[in-house]
Each structure stands twice: as C-alpha cells, then as structure tokens.
C-alpha cells in the first residue's frame, strides 16, 4: 500500500527522518517494501526568474536571461511558448537531473543530466522545465500538465530549490500489510501504528458536518443481512459537480488514483484515507425511492461503471433501487446510476459486506476494483460508520453539496464501541519467555489505545472496535513484543522440555541408503512434479482402459500439462532424458524416488494411496538393457534381497527387451528399453532405458537382519560348464536347474554366451562358473564328480542341453 509521508503527517507530527520511520515500521511488523522520494530523479532545479526574453529571429526559440539568485544569472535558450519576462519557472542548472522526453514533450524516455547546450548558435547554460520534465502531473500541481513551462507562484523565492514547492520532497512508503491487520489498509490505519511506535499523539481526521433539516421520502432495507451486516446511506443534495481542489487531486495522484470529479474523488479519498470503500449513487437515477441490498436473481444482469455486462447468480450480492440492481455490492457501481456532470443529488453508501462473498463474487465474475480488493481483506464496522462522517465532512469542506437529514444505518447490532479483554500478565510473559516490566506493558498498550488497567496479575483492556484480531493473551503478547522489541528475546534452548529420542525411522534410513546406493551406481537424483500431463499418458501409449488413466484431476491447474496427479513416474523420466539429449548430453543415469497417486475413488472421498516409487532412467550408446538391470540390482543388494526377472511386454518398451521384476514371486516393477518410436517422437539421438520399482512393496524387507556368514573352513571347488541348447531357453532356466541339482552350490555365474552355425540352427551355448562350498567336511574328488554328473544329467533331462565339446 502506498503511503505518502505528507499525508501521514496530517495525523501524527512525525519527528523522525524517513529512514528512521522505515526502521520503526519494520520493527513493529510493517515491512516497507519500497521507500522513495517523489522527486528522486530530480536534482539541482531551482526557481528561475526570467529577467529578459527575446525572440530569436526565424525560430520558435527565445533567448532569456534568467536570474537564479545565489546560483547566478544564466543565458537560457528556450522553446516553450509560455516563457515570458517577469515569470518564474523551474530552472535546471548545469549538472541538474530531470526527465528526458520524446519529441512530443510528453513521453518520458529516461533521466538526463543537463549540460551546456547550443541551439541555432545560441548558447544555453541550463534548461527551463515543464511539468513532465520534473515528473509532476496536472493533478500533483495545477498547471503542470501544460505542454510548456511549469509556471511557479509569483512569491517563490528566486534561486530556491523547486522540490518543496512542487511537493517533490515528499516520500512515498510502499508498506506491506499482513492479512491479520485489515485495519491498517489505509493511511489513517498506518498513522495509528506510527503514533503508537513513535509514542506520539494521534490526531483524528475531521468528522464534523452540519445536517440541514431537509428530508425526502426514501427507504433502505437489507434483505441479505448475512452478507451485509451494516449498511449506512445518507442523502446529499444541491450537489455541484466540479473538479476537486488541488490538494485532494495531488494526494490521490500520489497513491495512484486519478481524479474524476469532486463527488467521486471524495469516495476514493475516504477509501485511501480510512480504508472504507464508499459509493455515491446519482440520486436522480434511483427509482421508486428505495434501496435494497439482496442476493441477485439467477440470470439477472448489470452493467458496471466500466461498461462491462455481467450475468449474475444467487451467490452475488447486489444493491438495488426500488426496481433494478444499481451496483454490484462491494465491487463496482452500476453504469445506470453513475455520477455525471449533471448530477445534482447523491445517495452516499458506506457498508460492510461479508469479505468472503465479495472475494468469491469478484473471482467468479473476474471483476476486481480497489473496493473489492479492500473488502476481500475485511472492513470493520467502526470504520464503516466513521467513513460516512468523513465523507460528509468533505462534502462540506469542498462546498459541493448539502447534507440532508435523510439517513439510514441498518445493522445487525454489532457495537462499534471498544470491547473488554482481560488477560493474565503472567500468561503474556509466559508466551514470550521474558518478563516485560509492568510499566512497559501498560505504556505499550496505552499507546495502542487499549486503555489498559493493571490490577495484580490481571490486565483489563478496552480494545478499539477496529482491532477485531485481538482475542487472546497470545494476541496481547504479540502486541507487547512487537512494540517492546524482538531484540529483548533471549535465546534459550527448551530448558523445560523433556528429553526425546529423535532421528530417522527404519523406512527413512532405508530410503536414504537406497538413494546413496543409486548415486554410487552413477545415477543422479532428479525430482519431478507430482502432477503431469494427460499427454504423458499418451506418450507411453497406455490403452484407454489402463489403470494408470484413472488419475486424480486438479480442479484448477496452472495449465493442462500440470493437471493430473501422476500414476506412473516413467513419462516424466522419459521426458527428462529427452530434455538432456536436446541439451547435447548423450549419456547419463537419473533416478527419482517419489509418490504416485492411486485414487481409491473418484471424485476423492478418502485419502488416495500415495505410493513411494523408484524410477530409473539411463541413456547413451554405452548403456544397454543389462546396465539398467545392474542399477535395479543395486536396489536388491542395498536391501539384501533377490530379484527375479521374466520376459514381458509393455506398451512403451521394446517388445524383446522388457522384463518384469519379481521379489518373492510378487511383481514389483519392470525395466526395459524405450520404444524407438517414442525416442523418435522426442528427438532422442541415443537409446533410452527405464525401470520403475514399487518401493512400497519392498518396505516389508526393510527390517531384514544382516548376519555374518563365517568364511568357509574348507577349500571351495569351482567347475566351468558350457552347455549347448535351444535358443529359446533362458539363462534363468539353466541357472535354476543347476542350482536345484546340488545343495552345496554357493554361486553360479554366466561368463559366456555364443551363437554360431557350428552349434546348429537355433542353438546357442551358455557357459557358467559354478562354485561348490563345503559345509562340514572337505570335498573328495569323487563327491565333486558326483555333483557334476548330477548337473549334466538334470540339464539334459529338463532342458535338453548338452555339454559343448
């Protein structure tokens, strides 16, 4: 929120410089996001008195002698049509900074430094300036909008800095206000805090006015009191629509509000000053002498001031006259009752609307205004009542209308008087952990206008009605410490707390172990969004009835690409691989450990299953099916379990290079090479491999005990076998037959695969090293021979494989 220092000074005699004020606001909870001098780009511009002014023949230029008091007298070449001898104008001295303008003299193109110039052969030692060149608009200083020189008052002191004259020495504070303090969403609201933190008296804005005895027949009713707890209206007549006075236009300009006419400006001024949105209806356009606040009828229409038409629903609140809607409550007035130059009487409105309703309506209709933004944050009734008085005072001050005796204040009985709050000082200090001296507590709360009375441990306060946030001792503690100063907090380390055992759970430990193991296997951990795109499901060619297509939808996603909760981690991994390849990285390994989301019902009526899953991606000419299989094995090794693999097929993986992963016979995932078609679709240059493992299914193995197996006491025996068999027989089949043939086998390792015409058509050979580990006694050669024979016999019988000769 923009707060001009000059405006704040109406209510507090601020006795500190802007930097100190910024610090003070910051320390009590109001961060100043930006602070700047209004004329921060302007320097060395002084009041110049034009002594002589002569036309330069055949040009539009004038050659002037300009007196700048103590700075000297300068020859200035000036093209403005309103330069005149005897006039006082802003003179930018050599070295001054002002705004540079385009040829139209209106568009600012940056800041320039004034140097000695020469125009048509005439030297100029400075520049006489327009309003635009000084960043002063017509609203900020009357006459500044003229496309020529800005005319300074006759009594301006020659040679004096122009900044104070033009208000350029004012400061603007852009204050950020937390959502618990809607009462500070105004200049006066901030002034209250400034007065409290600087411990200075607060001056109230003038609220007085005189009612005439004029009355008119009129009625105000509120049908929707749940959405409108307070509605005040006041009839003002003999209205003269004119331009607002300079001071009001200037203030509105400083806070970014443009001046329209005195009546409209008054409502905007009160909004900025007190934080209460107000509205003025042109009385002559209100039909049937009535106002009613009600929910809109479904399908009812209104055209707002900005000439947009809205079709309303029962959820929208409208202000109606006796016949039709005349305003979208809290958002914007209707075009049909707009204040015009011809307006001669108005009905002022100051109301409190339920902020949630305004928020929803404003969002649903896509219509935002200063008023709706303000209502959304919350308006208090204290201010609603005060604002009407302030507006009526301004009507009188601006002499633009007469305040009648016809007025209405419909309310639900809420008091605008201070409310009582009792707390224990011990409890307040108990929150803080320090003991703030009683006198400081009383002083701080007095400054906040809480009227504290301390009796023993009991603190009784009368909280102003605008402080709706004050409810408990914790709220009081915060008020005390933010004013007392957080630097008084003494760090302690939970001395009263019981000792607790902390640290990771078994599951957390195992997950960290898995991640580290995967890193050691050369994979980088990636993290992808928990939501993905419907097109990701198409990318992996899932059929219409695939369970993965039953995904939870976001109602309000940022865009369609982030609109589904993921049901598989693979597509994002494939996309990540493609992105890397596009950047020229042609080899790498990535893994992700994250959740996929399996709904138990749609739409959600209970928590969905958030399943921890590991996804692995590998790509590059140096990778193949077996290298990603190796990474999957890392998971098994880390958990000290065994995986088995079976050939399978899958919609997005190579028809012959895909396996399902089993653990204890249970399918827990898959791995394989990504289809070439998908690689082409994503412009990949090297093959890609993906694996996905259901980590949740492995949690039952997390607690597996690690036991040491003593080294063998007797010598192990190793035998190599090379079998010839049908091509279709898998390595796993052979291994199983070998393993089942002898209980002493401790390892079987494949060391060669060969296919060649010499073996016969559709034949291949597999060579294994088999290790026999003795248990209780040493093997005899005869025993080993027995093992070997048994293996040969089983392999031949069960698989038809023979020893290669």
């Amino acid at each position: 929120m923009l707060v001009p220092l000059s405006w704040l000074k109406d209510y507090v005699d601020i006795n500190v410089d802007p930097d100190t004020l910024e610090e003070k606001l910051f320390s009590c909870g109001f961060e100043v996001e930006e602070k700047y001098e209004v004329g921060h780009d302007i320097s060395n511009v002084v009041v110049g008195y034009v002594k002589t002014c002569e036309d330069i023949p055949d040009t539009h230029l004038h050659l002037c002698q300009v007196d700048a008091g103590p700075h000297g007298e300068f020859q200035i070449c000036c093209g403005a049509d309103n330069v005149v001898a005897g006039g006082k104008f802003p003179l930018a001295l050599i070295g001054a900074t002002v705004y540079a303008t385009a040829k139209d003299h209106k568009t600012v193109e940056g800041v320039m430094k004034i140097g000695k110039g020469k125009l048509r052969g005439y030297e100029s030692f400075g520049m006489l300036c327009s309003g635009v060149e000084l960043g002063v608009s017509e609203d900020m200083y009357p006459g500044a909008g003229y496309n020529g020189l800005l005319v300074l008052p006759e009594d301006a002191e020659v040679g004096a800095d122009v900044k104070p004259i033009l208000g350029l020495d004012d400061y603007i504070f852009d204050v950020s206000i937390t959502s618990n303090r809607p009462d500070c969403q105004s200049i006066f609201g901030i002034a209250r805090e400034v007065a409290a933190v600087l411990e200075l008296p607060l001056k109230m804005p003038a609220l007085d006015y005189t009612e005439t005895d004029v009355t008119i027949p009129f009625s105000v009713s509120v049908d929707a009191q749940d959405l409108c707890p307070r509605y005040s209206a006041h009839y003002v007549y003999d209205v003269k629509i004119e331009q607002s006075p300079a001071w009001m236009r200037r203030r509105l300009a400083l806070v970014g509000s443009s001046s329209i006419s005195n009546m409209v400006d008054i409502t905007n001024y009160v909004l900025k000053e007190l934080g209460q949105p107000m509205h003025a209806f042109d009385f002559n356009y209100l039909e049937a002498d009535a106002i009613n606040v009600r929910r809109a009828n479904d399908g009812e229409k209104i055209i707002t001031l900005d000439e947009k038409e809205f079709t309303l629903t029962n959820n929208n609140l409208v202000i109606c006259d006796g016949k039709k809607p005349v305003a979208l409550a809290g958002i914007m007035g209707g075009l049909n009752s707009e204040i015009l130059d011809t307006t001669s009487a108005v009905m002022f409105e100051s109301a409190k609307f339920a902020h949630d309703n305004i928020r929803k309506s404003s969002k649903a209709l896509g219509q935002v205004s200063d008023a709706s933004a303000r209502y959304t944050k919350g308006v208090d009734e204290y201010t609603t009542v005060m604002a009407m008085k302030r507006a009526l005072h301004l009507v009188e001050e601006l002499n633009c209308g007469k305040v009648s005796a016809t007025k209405f204040d419909i309310n639900t009985g809420n008091s605008v008087e201070p409310f009582e709050l009792k707390v224990s000082v011990k409890q307040v200090n108990g929150v803080l952990g320090i003991t703030v001296p009683d006198e400081d507590i009383v002083r701080i709360l007095t400054n906040l206008d809480f009227a504290p009375v301390l009796e023993g441990d009991e603190l009784t306060m009368h909280i102003p009605a605008y402080r709706e946030d004050m409810q408990t001792y914790q709220d009081v503690a915060e008020e005390v410490i933010r004013m007392y100063g957080y630097e008084h907090i003494v760090p302690t380390f939970i001395p009263t707390a019981e000792v607790t055992m902390g640290g990771y759970t078994l599951r957390q430990k195992r997950e960290i172990k898995l991640k580290n193991a995967l890193c050691a296997a050369g994979a980088y951990e990636g993290i992808h969004y928990s939501f993905f795109s419907p097109s990701d499901l198409d990318l992996i060619r899932l059929p219409e009835d695939a369970p993965e297509r039953t995904a939870i939808k976001l109602i309000n996603p940022i865009n369609v690409d982030l609109s589904l909760m993921r049901t598989t981690l693979a597509p994002q991994m494939i996309n990540a691989i493609a992105r890397n390849q596009k950047k020229g990285i042609l080899s790498g390994r990535i893994f992700e450990m994250g959740n996929k989301f399996i709904p138990k019902s749609l739409p959600l009526t209970e928590y969905p299953d958030e399943r921890e899953t590991i996804c692995i991606g590998a790509f590059g000419e140096d990778e193949d099916f077996f290298s990603i299989k190796g990474i999957v094995e890392v998971i098994a090794d880390a958990l000290d379990i065994k995986f088995e693999y079976e050939q399978t097929s899958n919609t997005f993986l190579h028809p012959y290079r895909t396996a399902k992963v089993l653990c204890d016979g249970k399918e827990i995932g898959y791995l394989g090479q990504v289809l070439y078609e998908i690689c082409d679709e994503l412009d990949m240059r090297v093959p890609a491999y993906v694996a996905e493992i259901d980590l949740r299914a492995l949690t039952e193995y997390y607690g597996k005990d690690r036991k040491f197996t003593p080294l063998p006491k007797f010598l192990e025996e190793k035998r190599d076998f090379c079998f010839v068999m049908d091509k279709e027989i898998t390595c796993a089949q052979v291994e199983k037959v070998i393993m089942d043939s002898c209980k002493y086998i401790s390892s079987i390792e494949l060391f060669d695969v060969f296919e060649g015409i010499q073996l016969g058509i559709n034949k291949k050979s597999l060579a294994f090293s088999v290790v026999f580990t003795p248990k209780d006694e040493e093997f005899t050669p005869e025993l080993i021979d027995g093992f070997v024979k048994k293996i040969l016999k089983n392999v031949e019988k069960l698989l038809g494989a023979t020893l290669r000769v």
Partner: protein, 347 residues
Amino acid sequence: MTELNELSEKLSAIKQEIKNELVNLTSSKSVFEYRKNIMDSKTGKIGSLMKEMGKIPKELKADYGKKVNEIRNWAQAEFEALDNKLKEAEMRAKYESEKIDVTLPAKKLKKGNLHPNTQVRNQLVDIFGSMGFNIYEGREIETDYYNFTALNIPQDHPARDMQDTFYLSPEYLLRTQTSSGQVHVMEEQKPPIKIVSPGKVFRSDDDATHSPMFTQMEGLVVDKGITLCDLQGMLDVFVQKIFGEETKTRLRPSYFPFTEPSVEVDVSCFQCHGCGCRLCKGTGWIEILGAGVVNKSVLEGCGIDSSVYSGIAFGIGIERVAMLKYGINNIKNLFESDLRVLDQIDD
C-alpha cells in the same frame, strides 16, 4: 704337468672365446641363452669341465678343481655384469616406449549425486534429529480441514488468499504447507512432541523464484513452558550449523494464522557477514523462514490442554536454502533433471 699346462691353455682359449662372444650379445635374453649354453653340465664349455675330473690324476685334482672354479666364477661375474647392464638399458627403453601425456583427460568414472533438495533436507533433518526431533512425513494430498481449518484458517479467512491452492475436490487439495502434518502429529501423539516434517507442497505460482511444487520443512515442539525465547534459541543453533557459526538470527513481527506471535526469521548474510551485498540486497539480512508460538486454538483443536502445554513451530523452504547456499538462480533448475545442474552440487 703337461695335463695342467694343457688345461691352462684350454681355459685361456675358452676365456678368450667367451670374451669375444660377450661383445656380440645385445639383449639380456641372448645373455641368458649363451650362459645356459656355456654352463650346461653336459655340453657346456665350462659346465662340462667338472666331468673331466675323472681323467685327472689324483695329485692334480685339487689344482684342476681350483682352476675350473676360477674360470667358472669369472664367467658368472662377466655374465652377471653384462646382464645387469643390458637389463637396465632394456628397462629404460621399455619406460621410454611407454611415455604418456599426463595432461590427457582422466578416465571418467560413473558418478551420481543426491538432488540438491535432498542434500539440504538431509542436513536439516540430521541437525534436528540430533536435537531429539523425530521425522514425520505427511501426505501430499490433504483435506481442507488439515491444511486450513485445523490451522486456524476457517473457510472465509483472508489468509486463504495468501496461498493459491490447487483443489482436487471440494474437500481434498494439494497441501500448501507442511504445517498440515502438525495437526496429524498432535492428534496422534501426546506431548512432549518434537518433530520436523519435510515434504512437497504446492501453490499455484509459477516464475523464476516460485514453482508450483516446492519443498518445505516444518518444525514443531510442544511441551510444558515452551516460549518465544526457545524458538530463537533453537533456530540459532540450526542456522549456525547450516550457514556457519557466526550466523545470527533476527526475529521480526509477521503473521501466520496458526502461530501467535508470528515472526519472520532473518539470518545475518553469510556472504558479507552483515556488511551488505547483492545476496542480501544490501540489508545485511536474509529472510529465511517463518515461525511463531503455536496458536492456542490450534493446540486445543487437537485436544492438547493449552493451559498446560505450549508450542513453537517454524517452516522453512528447502529450495530457498538450496538456492541461497549454492547460488542457484532459478528454481526451475531444480525440477528439470538437467544433468549439467545436478552434476554441480555435491555438498
């Protein structure tokens, strides 16, 4: 006597022959072969000399043996010397032939890193774990009640506007803060409670410093007599471990619906140590986390007696710490799995 003279002559001849031959040997291999040849006990010119001993008269045997030994020792020494000389040359030649350019690139080992978020998360969790905190991982999909209502943010509360929430149904949503886990913990456990809760959170926000998904870590202590001083003390320890021992904290008032008082916690800039630099935008302080004393209505909502127990809580953005600590300038870098990014951070 003549036998001895003959022998002397024969030995001289052998000696001369060996001398002549040695000059022609140029490799240790040929020395080995020649030596084997000469020393062979059956056919070797020196090796076979002892075979002759039988023919030598008894009285001359001693002299004969002596002379044969002499020439044998001489020959062995000659062979040894030549062999050493040639071997040395051969080694030198071998080394010479294996000359390399040591500045050629190293053989690349496959390497991987934990994600920067995980690295920061592990560091944070380790610190709090050692202080007796348990780690609680909540759900990513939450109900409106746990994410908002139970945290003192009722339906029409303006604080709901502070966070743009992704809804999945009128009741279910993507959690906007890990604070949602607080309530589950307080419902399930009785004080004393000390937990940190790291996890993914979601807000409808998308620019260079905001990502629609990011990571927070919530901390919560509930016990008897817990105060704002404890909050600062705990956070002091934490920031010193993460950002260095000289790091200081500064509390300033703020607002979160579930804490009262609420504070923003700034740390003294760990780059310029408070002098003012680009990282801290010249202020000497960096905003790092939000915290406060748990609002008693939140405690009571979870069935905890606020007249006996009080609590402190904080929430920190993991990406924010990662970006500050490692100088990452765009949060998007963290979610794209670009290996050029992931390769850089190995803390």
